[in-house]
Subunit: 226 residues, 2 copies
DNA sequence: GATAGACTCCTTCTTTGGTAGGAGGCGAGA
DNA sequence: TCTCGCCTCCTACCAAAGAAGGAGTCTATC
């Protein structure tokens, strides 16, 4: 059937989760590792591996760095995080790094088995109870504006700047925003003037210094508040 | 059974998705809205609403701002995004804002129904095919080279690329390196070809992904060692 | 109703960026 | 020695970027 590996430095926990899997997903072949190095070693050797259950907090891998290392070394290997950490942020970051799921250690065994089954069938699992809670009110709004420049850009100009930052040409931006290329040029010229630079490249450098994404979100928010 | 609302400004698409749901999840009560304002209005009136299918691209809500507004106005209402946009980043941002799922418009009907069913049972749905792909862009910092591209650049090309990354023009680079502008162009063309991109802006994006500074230092070190 | 700003688009022009191809000099290694 | 890769520079040409100036629509505001 499937081959799974459990990477956790607590033998007791490895045994516990192995028992749950044995009972709930019979026929699975289970490997165990007590460190990231060991997991990497075994995973490299074993081609049939279907899924790695990775604990955050291995001795040789602080936090998500272990996941990152794994994704770089063995991109083909699906990894699901199993952790006591229930921070929304950690969960999202894990998914961003390419994890196929995130299972809190507090998950009841039925839910855990269902999650693993879903993942083995190709789905992504996130803990519903945590993710469905509204975000715990983000810090929001930096009152002091480091760059009066960026603040003076209009909504459309920000949209254009965002695309500049992705390396888009005027032509492509025109297509994406469904406006004429000449109009894009007009916007770009305005952006350059307001930012006090002379080329799109420099505009991009200024933009990502000031964290364009944040500003875009703020702009959207302001529009809605009004 | 369940009450769903579809918010999309294309009547044809609303009808299409309504037909799929009618056939696949019989007994569901379906509402429709063609704008964010309309969706907010109906959702406020209808207490029994279980799930909102929200299109990105409504006339009165650019991108994720609509989701943001909904989450603030009606935090109790589960929202699933239905969009043509398949960017990992967009998907993650949507989940971060509290969406309970993200369904690309290209999803086949069976998968769409399964996703909706899962969501109605409390799960989170993310498109596996997109999320399981390794992130396209990630700062690496590992010794293992994910970008054989950059490694293939010669010393001079790296010098040029470093200046490109600071926003320098060909002319300026020529002055700084004391070579002809045509030579700079030759280098730039070589860089673009090796990095597989078509403009200096894109080259810069690739470069600072791969931490150019580190690489430059390494290169200088090698030269000194030799 | 008038004013101002934002967005749209146009033409014209110059500068910059980028490709293609050829060519000479130089140093390392077969 | 001869070859190969890198650096250098050239011409010629084309595409993209950006400046300048004018102009129409719409919306919000006074």
């Amino acid at each position: 059937m499937h081959t799974l590996m459990i990477a956790d430095d607590h033998p007791l926990f490895r045994d516990a989760i192995a028992a749950v899997i044995d009972a709930g997903l019979p026929g699975c072949h289970l490997l165990q590792a007590d460190s990231l190095a060991e997991a990497l070693h075994q995973a490299t050797a074993c081609e049939a591996l279907d899924l790695l259950l990775l604990d955050l907090g291995l001795p040789d891998a602080e936090g998500l760095s272990g996941l990152q290392a794994l994704r770089e070394a063995l991109p083909w290997l699906p990894v699901v995080i199993v952790s006591a950490d229930q921070e929304r942020h950690t969960i999202l970051e894990a998914i961003d790094l390419g994890a196929v799921g995130y299972i809190p250690k507090s998950t009841p065994r039925e839910a855990l088995l269902a999650a693993l089954a879903g993942i083995l069938e190709g789905r992504i699992y996130l803990p519903p109870d945590i993710m469905r809670r509204p975000p715990a009110t983000r810090p929001s709004s930096s009152p002091a504006d480091l760059s009066p420049h960026l603040a003076s850009l209009t909504a459309k100009q920000l949209e254009v700047l965002a695309r500049l930052s992705r390396g888009a040409s005027n032509k492509l931006i025109a297509r994406e925003l469904d406006i004429a290329e000449t109009t894009v040029k007009t916007h770009v010229s305005a952006i350059l003037r307001k930012l006090g630079v002379t080329s799109r490249v420099q505009a991009i450098l200024v933009a990502d210094q000031a964290d364009l994404a944040t500003r875009l979100a703020q702009h959207r928010k302001h529009r809605l508040d009004a």
